[in-house]
């Protein structure tokens, strides 16, 4: 469950996201409407100027990103020098890990990770699959996936 009711002034315009929802949430809008800023605020990389953010009824507005249990993923969310297997299991023993006994093969199957090697040599799609798999194994409360899409005209 995410609740965000905050505002942030960026470059002369004010972004004021208001969300209260759970499950899979899709945020879409025009360029500059504040989608990325909203995700970064949820994950703690941008502090709102006012308002509050709660995750599962805990106020995380002023928490550091490490303590929010909210993973931010975009096309660069990977560790370039790690191999796929190490990348997937590296964080399952972390403080925030909720899925310690999960079957990694299950995540591999779900995410279609049937490849190996260092992350930096994979395609963008493969990297994102590994990033999401890594996040699922770490078991955060929120996985914020940022996808760039350019509409066709």
């Amino acid at each position: 469950m995410i609740e965000i009711n905050a505002s942030k002034v960026l470059g002369g315009s004010t972004i004021s996201p208001s969300i209260s929802d759970a499950g899979t949430i899709c945020i879409y809008g025009k360029n500059g409407s504040g989608k990325t800023t909203t995700l970064l605020m949820i994950c703690g990389f941008i502090m709102p100027d006012s308002g509050h953010i709660t995750i599962n009824n805990s106020d995380v507005t002023f928490l550091q990103p490490q303590k929010r249990s909210a993973v931010f993923i975009n096309q660069d969310s990977y560790f370039p020098n790690m191999i796929v297997d190490d990348h997937l299991i590296h964080f399952t023993s972390g403080k925030n890990s909720k899925v310690r006994d999960v079957n990694i093969d299950e995540i591999r199957n779900i995410m279609g990770i049937n490849f190996g090697g260092k992350l930096k040599y994979l395609s963008m799609g493969q990297k994102i699959r590994v990033s999401i798999g890594t996040a699922l194994l770490a078991g955060p409360h929120v996985i914020a996936i940022h996808i760039y899409a350019v509409p066709a005209h």
Partner: protein, 272 residues
């Protein structure tokens, strides 16, 4: 057009290129003169003696050890400076580069002497800075640290931060991200920065002329660092021997710089 290789733009020599060639010549000509006078005009057998080679060996080894220490000790600071603005830390990290280096030698002489509690503690565990390899390495590490910190800071500033953000959001501490993500991803750049700081250490004279004029014990007993030996030869024998020894030292320094350059060009090619 943005992705065209640099070579495509080679087509003519403009005013900026001419100014660049002239200024580069200003830097290279004195070195060429030393090499010419050292190996041709003033060529002297004493300049190729075992004493000179031992001295260069001491300089290279102590500079390499100090560069490794600087890499191990100052990488976290460089990362922190690249991520968090701190005028105090920025200024403090530049201090060794901005004070006259004989003062650095005197400072370590006082710190390591029995007149200070810290000096007595160091003596009690067998560490002595005066005329010792330990003192030489400490002085070289101190004066070459700013060179490494600035280079490493620039490396960290230019890297993609989304890799780190992913780590933070997974709950990793900054230190763990530094060693499990950032250092492995930038190791060649950091090696290049380390070699640059080693080059700086090899050229040091002011601090070590005071702190470690020669080494009194250990494997380099009786050996002087190359810069000190060249200065001493200049006083004893005039330019003949000193310039020959200096030319030898320049060859070694050029080799280190060449390796650094090769490493950097490899990194640039990889990025293209």
């Amino acid at each position: 057009m943005m992705f065209m290789k640099r070579s495509r733009f080679r087509g003519g020599t403009d005013a900026l290129s001419i100014i660049s060639y002239v200024t580069i010549a200003l830097l290279i000509i004195p070195i060429l003169f030393i090499l010419y006078f050292g190996f041709v005009v003033y060529r002297n057998a004493l300049g190729f003696s075992g004493t000179v080679f031992e001295s260069i060996e001491l300089t290279v080894i102590s500079s390499a050890i100090s560069a490794f220490i600087v890499f191990a000790v100052f990488t976290p600071l460089a990362f922190n400076l690249a991520r968090k603005q701190s005028n105090f830390m920025e200024t403090a990290s530049d201090i060794p580069a901005s004070i006259p280096h004989p003062i650095v030698g005197i400072a370590f002489l006082i710190i390591g002497s029995p007149i200070t509690p810290f000096g007595r503690f160091l003596s009690s565990i067998g560490i002595n800075f005066f005329d010792s390899l330990q003192g030489l390495i400490v002085a070289l590490s101190f004066i070459s640290a700013p060179v490494y910190i600035r280079s490493a800071q620039s490396v960290f500033s230019s890297m993609n931060r989304y890799h780190e953000m992913f780590g933070y959001s997974l709950g990793l501490s900054r230190l763990r991200i530094l060693y499990s993500v950032v250092v492995p991803a930038t190791i060649k750049d950091l090696a290049s920065a380390t070699l640059t700081s080693m080059s700086r250490a090899m050229s040091e004279f002011g601090s070590i002329a005071i702190l470690a004029y020669y080494i009194l014990s250990g494997p380099f007993k009786g050996v002087e660092p190359a810069s000190v030996l060249i200065y001493q030869y200049y006083g004893y024998y005039g330019p003949d021997v000193a310039v020959t020894a200096a030319a030898l030292m320049i060859i070694v320094s050029m080799a280190i710089l060449g390796i650094t350059r090769l490493l950097k060009s490899g990194i640039i090619r990889r990025r293209q």
